[in-house]
């Protein structure tokens, strides 16, 4: 039996991620552990964006805002735990559900308004909401305003898991990444997923066969926001720092780039996109601080010659081989 190229690359990527900790430890390069940690967290956020952008054709330009909300839940909790000695506010079992609740509520409200629009208007409205939340962050004087907030303690998961240990934290994030991938796979193939993909394909037809499209798109938008909120919890803990910059529209743009570069509407595309963006940024910025001069044209090439992104290119490769 021959293994398809796409499957091989996907499995290879997961295995590669799984063996990062022992390698970085052997080489005494903890920096790269942190780098891959960031890569996986951004991949989770990009997967959540792909759910609505790639599968549902909703180009949300404010998706980083939900990541910021999740991060601020951790940041504010840790702040009061340290400053005011309210220990339970650092509890990770509180942070995660609270982040999900807050980010999905925000997505519900933002989605309820923006999903009534289409195309470029949808992009502009989600961008506007994202920037609104960014400026809310800038306005939080107590929590460092635009300087942000340093975390003096990470989310506390008690005896269950100590995420102060970066290796354990790494495997937690890897497990969540795999869970997100599997959940997305199921969701996209389910009845709900069929409706969302139908909305991308032909929304007018969807209504004509009797499906109230709006409410399904809104639920998808909310679910994506909730997942991105969890990514925010992880990112805050990874960086030990929270700031409004996490919600800036350029961060949302990065997530879109990851999805487009990796392959819209594909399962593993956002992971590939996140990997390329994080690694290219790291290595090119070591060569020149104007690394975006190199990265920009690369993106243009993908947009012009490889519409399906990396995952699409793998698929084309498989077809040529077959």
């Amino acid at each position: 039996m021959r293994i398809p190229v796409g499957t091989a690359v996907a499995a290879g990527s997961i295995v590669a991620l799984a063996i990062v900790p022992p390698i970085t430890e052997a080489l005494r390069e903890p920096f790269y552990l942190g780098l891959c940690l960031r890569l996986m967290i951004l991949a989770i956020a990009a997967i959540s964006l792909n759910l609505i952008l790639g599968f549902g054709n909703m180009v949300s330009f404010g998706h980083a805002a939900y990541m910021g909300i999740g991060a601020y839940v951790v940041g504010i909790g840790a702040f009061h735990a340290v400053e005011d000695g309210i220990d339970w506010l650092a509890n990770g079992f509180l942070h995660v559900p609270l982040a999900i609740a807050a980010s999905s509520l925000a997505a519900l409200v933002i989605g309820a308004i923006s999903i009534r629009t289409r195309g470029v208007y949808f992009i502009m409205i989600t961008l506007a909401f994202g920037q609104m939340l960014y400026f809310v962050g800038v306005g939080l004087e107590v929590y460092g305003a635009d300087d942000g907030l340093s975390l003096y303690m990470r989310s506390d998961f008690g005896d269950v898991l100590d995420i102060n240990d970066n290796t354990r934290f790494y495997y937690l994030v890897l497990a969540l990444l795999l869970a997100t991938l599997y959940g997305t796979k199921r969701l996209v193939a389910s009845r709900f997923g069929l409706v969302i993909r139908g909305a991308r394909s032909n929304e007018r037809r969807l209504a004509a066969i009797g499906i109230p499209v709006y409410r399904y798109k809104l639920v998808a938008f909310t679910v994506a926001g909730a997942i991105c909120g969890v990514a925010g919890v992880l990112l805050a803990n990874r960086t030990d720092f929270v700031s409004p910059d996490m919600m800036h529209w350029t961060r949302s743009g990065d997530l879109i780039i990851m999805v487009v570069l990796g392959g819209m509407g594909t399962l593993f595309g956002p992971l590939y996109g996140a990997a390329v963006l994080v690694l290219v940024e790291e290595f090119l910025s070591g060569v020149t601080e104007h690394w975006q001069i190199v990265f920009g044209p690369l993106l243009v090439l993908v947009a012009v010659y490889a519409r399906g992104g990396i995952a699409g290119a793998l698929r084309a490769l498989e077809r040529r081989r077959g």
Binding site: R191, F192, G193, L194, V195, S201, R205, A207, G210, Y216
Partner: protein
Amino acid sequence: MGEPILRLRGLTKRFGGLTATDSVTLDVVEGEVHAVIGPNGAGKTTLVGQISGEIRPDRGRILFAGQSITRGPVHARALLGIARSFQITSVFLDFTVAANVALAVQAHAGHSFRFWRDAASDDALIEPAAEYLGLVGLSDRTDDVAATLSHGERRQLEIAMALATAPRLLLLDEPTAGMGGDESARMIDLLRSFKGRFTILLVEHDMDAVFALADRITVLDSGRILVSGPPDDIRADPAVRQAYLGDGDT
């Protein structure tokens, strides 16, 4: 004669200075094929759009199965049993043929907030879908992507999707448009096999199709009903001959 399932009462729609639908009062009787004909720009598609809910009428009422649906949204009307095909074929091009119909089945099988089970292996969707595909003669294309279908086959697929929604009224907007002679004849045969089983409001340019299928014909001109009646009366009507049938074989 049966009961009317669809009643239009004084339906009027203006686009700027143009009156696309002008006080149209019309009954579609259950079980009948009711054809709407008229020259280009007579307002046929606008009329269909108002019945399906994509276009809001300015005045008048639409009653379906005794219930007012004048202002309801498209999906709500579809759930009541109004299915439509579009003048320009409208299917989910990147879905397989089976998935297209499965989605239409799903639309009428309760809510779709089911997030986990694989829809493509869900017998409750796949089996009825296969049945409707058999009905329109697409059984051998089930697993093909809809984009690979010919124009005629896409039309057949659209009909299968309409049937899958358990329709009480089929709104067919030019089902033979853009078809070759053979394809067109096959579509007419298919629609003829529906006679008596479905109520159909048929908008059509092809007079052969209209006279082969219709129990009743309404002639529209500039948004107004010129005349309405059984096919033989329409054929004999001097006003119709002059306004429509007279100008060649369009």
